[in-house]
């Protein structure tokens, strides 16, 4: 295939004009939902409802309804939490890190990915709250002056999680909203419905596209992106500390922080790809979310898959090299013990299948891509399952070993979290522009003045 490296590839295909771009992006907001929308919403809504009902049961009858036991005191609750937080990271990465790296292809997918981050963090946040059993007492976990003179344990990684996830959610929300302000203004100026106009005016805060404002806006956006980047790394690092700072074989490994971060980006990109493939088809956005963009995302998935594979290999090697018997056993047990099936699902889905992305044809084939990224999501869920459950179910004392079997409630609540996520995504597509209108206009052909030689910069 012949690529001319001396010219820059256009971000938006088809030489669309600014008005055409805006019309394409805003169309879902102006049109009434169609049958497909309602079908999709009812599927995800049902899952959500099932999950909600099972959660209410859990509140009423207690955590005994779940499969948790001794020794596996942490199971689906924390697996789901780590899974969803991981998925959230792709959004911030696409939004913030690719922005800082001046990768213009992020523009078509950044808004969507940020929204997915926020929804994923919401799904994730449910689990620490419900797994306490009496979540209505959760306020007591905050540091407030009390008669006992008690404070929270700032040395505990679980408390670090509280800070990390709250900060992550807040910053993601602020970042997302900041990006939305110019779009709200655009929507306000083009809508004819009075109610919508009021709402958009409210949320746009009176933005009037003044360049004196754009100056500060761009600075703020860069600062936010600059902070969001280490934040994303820190959040999943702190989540990895939940495990790494313990003594448990299979958990206590210094590679956990970057390994978890790579895994989070990996699973996040896979989920973003899954949703984007569907969205661009349903909303006819193929010229803005192009096959090139999907190909680039697949390259990122390939890279992070290999990082995760390298981490698997390093851990295996280090388990042997350390000479620590319990550590060696922990890994032997993972591959050949009673949960070996989960381990091999993880390895095959995470390391083997994504290798197909070395082949350019596969990177650009929508059906195969879809299968691989869904498998990646499955594999990454199993990775957390393998890490948590296999290390817990057989640790130091053989007399304490046990098995974990998930109950219907565990599985149902996991399904419910997917329901929540997809419901929010589906509603989002109809409520807000899925692509940042101002950003995509800024990177389209001929959008920037030419005395800087045009398009080859941020």
């Amino acid at each position: 295939m012949n690529v001319d490296y001396s010219v820059e590839e256009p971000v938006v295909h088809g030489r669309l004009s600014l008005a055409e771009i805006e019309d394409l992006v805003v169309k879902p907001l102006d049109s009434k939902p169609n049958k497909k929308f309602y079908i999709a919403l009812s599927i995800s809504g049902s899952l959500l409802l099932i999950g909600a009902v099972l959660v209410l049961f859990t509140f009423y009858y207690g955590i005994g309804l779940w499969g948790n036991n001794q020794p596996v005191g942490w199971a689906f609750g924390i697996v789901n939490f780590v899974f969803w937080i991981g998925i959230g990271h792709a959004g911030t990465l696409i939004s913030a890190i690719l922005f800082l790296l001046r990768q213009k292809w992020r523009t078509g997918i950044a808004r969507f990915a940020e929204a997915m981050t926020i929804f994923a963090v919401m799904c994730a946040g449910i689990f620490p709250i419900i797994h306490t059993g009496r979540p209505w007492l959760a306020g007591y976990l905050m540091p407030y002056p009390n008669q006992h003179g008690l404070w929270v344990n700032f040395s505990s990684p679980l408390v670090w999680d509280v800070f990390a996830v709250s900060t992550y959610f807040t910053v993601s929300l602020v970042f997302w909203y900041t990006g939305l302000i110019p779009d709200f203004a655009t929507l306000r100026d083009r809508t004819t419905s009075k109610i919508k106009k009021t709402i958009y005016s409210l949320f746009s805060l009176g933005w009037r596209h003044s360049h004196r404002h754009w100056l500060h806006y761009e600075k703020a956006y860069t600062l936010l992106a600059g902070f969001a980047t280490p934040l994303v790394l820190s959040v999943h690092t702190i989540v990895s500390f939940d495990f790494a700072v313990s003594l448990l074989p299979g958990w206590h490994s210094t590679i956990f922080p970057p390994y978890f971060v790579a895994g989070a980006i990996f699973s996040g990109f896979a989920m973003v790809a899954t949703v984007l493939i569907l969205v661009r088809k349903i909303f006819d956005l193929q010229q803005i979310i192009t096959l090139d963009h999907l190909e680039k995302m697949n390259k990122v998935i390939l890279v992070t898959s290999m990082m995760v594979g390298l981490a698997y290999g390093t851990e295996l090697f280090m388990a042997w090299y350390s000479g620590v018997t319990v550590e060696k056993f922990a890994f032997f047990n993972r591959a050949f013990g009673p949960y070996a099936w989960a381990y091999w699902v993880m390895v095959v889905c995470n390391v083997l299948f994504p290798q197909l992305f070395w082949i350019r044809k596969i990177r650009r084939s929508i059906p195969i891509m879809m299968v691989i990224v869904i498998l990646v999501n499955v594999g990454m869920w199993f990775e957390r399952f393998v890490i948590i459950v296999t290390s817990l179910h057989r640790d130091f004392l053989p007399s304490s070993w046990g098995m974990f079997v998930p109950t219907l409630y565990d599985i149902g609540i996991l399904a419910g979290s997917f329901g929540l996520f997809f419901t929010l995504v589906i509603l989002f597509t109809k409520a807000l522009p899925v692509i940042s209108i101002s950003e995509i206009k800024a990177v389209s052909d001929g959008a920037q003045p030419s005395h800087h030689r045009g398009e080859n910069h941020e």
Binding site: W136, W151, P157, S166, T167, H211
Partner: protein
């Protein structure tokens, strides 16, 4: 009518980025200060064209971020090193490595949130939905795909014809005069608005009431208000008399209490022995209690010659030979059980006091039957001591 409206400024619209960059540089060079450029997205090079100084937002970020760092380090230091020092995991009180993750998070949180808030409130002075440019055709075009320049009337160099000429020289797509909007007065007492307020008030108060007083108390969220225990004064069908409050069962004694076994027995098979030594305090106590409870009938010295003499069946003198031969425990039994007309004094005099009284009775016996030696002792004492 339009001649009466106040002018805000003159605007020009362009369709090509290059055009507006050139126009903007020229306007800046002409020395205007109250003017602005409106574009649907930021154009590169516009900062320089408008001769704008770089944004100072970064300083706020730095300051607030560092404040966050300081605050959280102070909080962790205070809570775990000063207020409630706890040894956690065998580490020192101020376990700095463990506090680094939180410190980082709070730094980022404060830095980012303060940046955005400062930008919106301080730099932009938002929300400003009533700005002149809103709802003008100019704004609608600029929101979509045009680029515009506005030069305001309030600029000292403004002169309408000169400005229009200048803008025309850039060859724009169109030129528009922006007028201030008419001031529409909204009377407060409009019926629709009042109705709306009332409905909102009702909805909010009703909703709050239902939520806080009803919903918040559905089991299991009921703050332990409804418990399966019997509260005082309540009915309970478990018992025949339906009383929630029960009296102690027959024969109940206090914990650690050993009941006097010969209550109600006139001639007990044995008498208890006196556990109290006749120390000064005990004797003082005995004297006090004797004078309080016993002397009304028995007299101050146990002679049986009290005020109630002849008005009440006389108790015998306590100094007869027979009574002087009583054991201590027999006195105790009489005080506890009562004898003949004398009632039981268990309600008024506790066990300790009863034994003290018995000791005092012995004192009285000795006093009434003093020996030579006793007198000597008394003399000796009065000779050497001041009156006690």
């Amino acid at each position: 009518m339009s001649n009466e409206r106040k002018i805000y400024g003159v605007a020009a619209l362009f369709t090509k980025p290059d055009d507006i960059i050139k126009a903007a540089s020229k306007v800046a060079n002409e020395g205007y200060s109250k003017w602005d450029v409106n574009t649907p997205y930021p154009l590169h090079g516009m900062d320089n064209a408008m001769k704008l100084k770089p944004s100072k937002l970064g300083f706020i970020t730095l300051f607030c971020g560092l404040s966050g760092t300081a605050l959280i380090l102070m909080l962790t230091y205070f809570t775990n090193s000063i207020d409630f020092p706890l040894v956690i995991g065998g580490k020192q009180f101020f376990a700095l490595p463990a506090y680094i993750p939180i410190t980082f998070e709070i730094t980022v949180l404060l830095a980012t949130v303060s940046t955005v808030i400062a930008m919106l409130t301080f730099f932009f002075k938002f929300p400003s939905n009533n700005h002149v440019l809103h709802d003008t055709p100019y704004m609608k075009k600029v929101s979509l795909d045009h680029f515009g320049i506005v030069i305001e009337v309030s600029d000292p160099k403004f002169e309408q014809s000169k400005v229009e000429e200048l803008l025309r020289s850039f060859d724009p797509e169109s030129i528009e005069i922006i007028y201030h909007k008419e001031e529409i007065k909204y009377p407060i007492f409009e019926p629709k608005f009042i109705t709306f307020l009332i409905i909102v008030a009702l909805a909010v108060s009703g909703g709050t009431y239902i939520t806080l007083n009803k919903l918040m108390f559905i089991t299991p969220f009921d703050w332990m208000m409804y418990q399966d225990k019997v509260i005082p004064q309540s009915r309970i069908e478990l018992f025949k008399d339906e009383r929630g409050m029960r009296t102690p069962v027959e024969g109940t004694v206090a914990k650690g209490f050993i009941p006097y076994p010969y209550l109600g027995v006139d001639e007990p098979p044995e008498y208890l022995s006196n556990p109290l030594i006749p120390s000064r305090e005990n004797l003082k106590l005995g004297k006090k209690k004797f004078l309080t409870y016993c002397s009304p009938c028995h007299g101050n010295f146990g002679d049986g010659d009290s005020r109630l003499h002849d008005q009440f069946p006389n108790p015998p003198t306590l100094h007869s030979q027979r009574i002087r031969n009583f054991e201590d425990g027999r006195f105790y039994h009489i005080i506890t059980n009562g004898k003949n007309v004398m009632p039981s004094y268990t309600a008024q005099i506790n066990r300790n006091e009863r034994w003290a009284i018995v000791n005092y009775i012995r004192v009285l016996h000795r006093a009434k039957n003093a020996t030579e030696r006793d007198l000597e002792l008394v003399t000796k004492e009065t000779a050497t001591n001041v009156a006690n």
